[in-house]
């Protein structure tokens, strides 16, 4: 019995070592870094600074702006992605003609690299040669400075994000819909319920666990938004469209202020944990098909 346990632990050892090396060590190292500063490669030793990096964050207007933008990106894009994903999934669930082809088309955007998506949307909304202003002009509207005004630029970034990641929502919700038990639906229809009532009172509650899971997954991913912002606006004009990860990237890998960048990253981690933990608890305790 003891020998078996030892063998088991021995076999687990490589995985544990890899986990410690690739995941736990960087996590702890960056935590330590966030409480100090380190002149990587310059022969400057690690210097403990206590909570000064975190204190500086509170007084940093650029950080607050980036955090606010990130909240907007997450709340708006994930909400719209969910609504559109659900609508598309419900539409295909009703088996329209050509549904199989649409099912394939709908997931194409998700397969593209975010940088490529960023360039595509930037080109579409370029003021002089972009398709958006071309169509606006055809309809008799004045051209819009899409990329050089804060709210327009943010809306272009959000549209790109929504276009790319709605398929993610669609895919999961459609799969869940296909597995919804049909007997309650049939019973409701026999009792005279309308299509909307069936959707609202039967299907939607049954989709709740998967809905919460995909919203959480997308929210966690959306908090890390970088590529599309970088390519479409570069955070501009000014820093008005900068996200938290982009600010962290600039501070860490452009200004090489590693301690402060680590502090930014840890605040981001706290936000992600704050989103994820209650949702996981909720899913485990409250929601079930039965």
């Amino acid at each position: 019995m003891q020998k078996t346990a030892l063998t088991r632990r021995t076999l687990l050892l490589p995985a544990v070592v890899i986990l410690l090396g690739l995941s736990i060590f960087p996590l702890l190292f960056s935590l330590a870094l966030s409480f100090g500063d380190w002149g990587l490669g310059r022969g400057v030793p690690y210097e403990w600074r206590g909570l000064s990096n975190y204190a500086a964050l509170l007084a940093d207007g650029r950080y607050r702006n980036a955090a606010f933008n990130t909240v907007l990106y997450v709340v708006i894009t994930v909400s719209v992605q969910y609504i559109l994903g659900l609508a598309l999934a419900w539409g295909l669930f009703l088996r329209p003609p050509g549904g199989r082809i649409f099912r394939v088309f709908f997931i194409f955007p998700m397969m593209l690299a975010p940088v490529a998506v960023g360039y595509m949307w930037r080109l579409m909304f370029q003021s002089r040669i972009g398709a958006a202003n071309f169509f606006l002009a055809a309809l008799g509207f004045e051209p819009v400075r899409w990329l050089s005004a804060r709210w327009f630029a943010m809306s272009v970034v959000m549209m790109a994000e929504i276009w790319q990641w709605t398929p993610f929502m669609f895919l999961f919700l459609y799969a869940a819909l296909m597995n919804v038990p049909t007997s309650p639906i049939d019973a409701a229809l026999v009792d005279g319920a309308s299509g909307f009532q069936v959707f609202r009172h039967i299907v939607l509650p049954m989709l709740m666990p998967i809905s919460i899971a995909v919203i959480m997954l997308r929210a966690v991913e959306a908090v890390k938004i970088l590529d599309t912002v970088y390519v479409i606006t570069h955070g501009g004009p000014g820093n008005t469209t900068e996200s938290l990860t982009m600010y962290g990237y600039n501070v860490g890998l452009q200004y090489f202020n590693l301690g402060y960048a680590a502090a930014i990253a840890y605040t981001l981690l706290l936000v992600v944990v704050a989103i994820a933990v209650p949702v996981i608890i909720f899913i485990k305790k409250e929601v079930s098909y039965t």
């Binding site: 310059r42 050089s148 804060r150 000014g238 452009q254 200004y255």
Partner: protein, 505 residues
Amino acid sequence: MKNQRASRIWPVLKYGAALCGLIVLALALIGAGRAEPEPEVVDPEELELEGVQLRLGVETGHALGDPIKPYVEEWEEMTGASVEITEIPFAEIYPRFMTSFHAGTDDFDVVIILPTWLGDMSQFLVPLDDLIEGDDMAAWDDVLPICQDIVTWQDETLIMPLDCDLFMSFYNRTAFLDDDHRAAFQDIYGYELAPPETWDQYYDIAEYFTEEDPDLYGAMESMSRGTQTFWTGLSRMVGYVSQGEPGALFFDPEDMTPLINSPGHVRALEEWVRVVDVGAPDILEFDVGDIREQFPLNTGALALDWASIGFIPTDRENQELIGFNPIPGPTEVYDHDTGQWIELDEPNRVPYMAALGWGAAIPVTSNEQEAAWQLIRYLSSPEISLKLVSMRDNYDPATGYQPFRYSHFENVDGWVESEWDRDRAEEYLEATFESLTADFVKPDLRIPGAFEYLDELDAGLTAALAGEMEPQEALDEVAERWDAITNRKGRDVQLQMYRESIGLD
């Protein structure tokens, strides 16, 4: 007992002393050898570099990556070495090199960088002084003094110049010579249509062409975030705050207080914001690449850029289109000491060395430093660099390399050989030479953290240009962030570096 111990210790001391003597002698010989280097002048064709592979990092595209490729290939054929070129977009090139330097990884043997980054990069680069000294191919005495100064950091030459940058203004000569436009402009503004000498004239001309000529945009300038907009901004600001004295553009040289939000800087930005309405309709999305592609197509009346677009068209035809003009200036300059505006008789046209000029350096991590130097001296040599700066084998719309050697300015025949019209070449070279040798030419920022300071300025300028912030508010915020950077990096250290970089210490 005492004697016994002494007898045991003596041989150790004796041999130890002899060994120390030998070491001292060896070090002295090495030191003596270093003190009088024997310059080695080797023709590339005689080099035995077969099998050597170099890795060269350079900015991507028309301006910098493409123009050097023909000469790198030429060198490869002559020496038998091979060079792997890594091209990196401008916004990524500083972090890419710095990440490699900080991590101590041997990623590059040659890096083509800007001297404005020397404050951060100096410790990671090989000093070139011993290699340069007496090297006929490097021909150091042929390099203009200002172009030598900018590549020197704390008495060490760390970069071999391939370029010496100067911001210029350009005008559409065809439009300016058009009789109808000349008459109409005279009627409206009451003075002759000519290359602008003041920023007010620049605005008038841009406004005129925007309103009167549907085929021409009034002005083209870089105004978007992350595309070197801060250099356009500083080129505009310099005349408002400096008549050439050191330390008037960035910081107070006494205590590193940022001057960037002074009334002079703010007025320059206010004037610049007005240009948005008389520029190309998408001017807020412009970077220098857009200017270089569009202006030579006869689509703009005025432009600001490095000398890159003042160069010859790709087909070598219609060289008269682009007119070349030193940067305009204001007629008043702000005096930081008295806090007063000083009226001037002549426009204050201060040449600004935005970015200072690209050059080649060798990272200390390179294992092929000797071969790397051989490549660098070849590219920078008078013969090859003349081809580089005159676009001899370059049919792209622009080049990022501008003349930096006396021989570039003296050898007009060399430019004609590169298919320049002689008059155009002479006009261009004369104006550039005058600016680079002027007493009041203003170099760019060169202290640790220069990239961060300038990036913060970029944010402030683009926010004001886009109307997201008022100019004063935007520059106040930049000043606040500059102060924070200075405090983080150490005010005393930064002050010392700044004073050294502007020649005060």
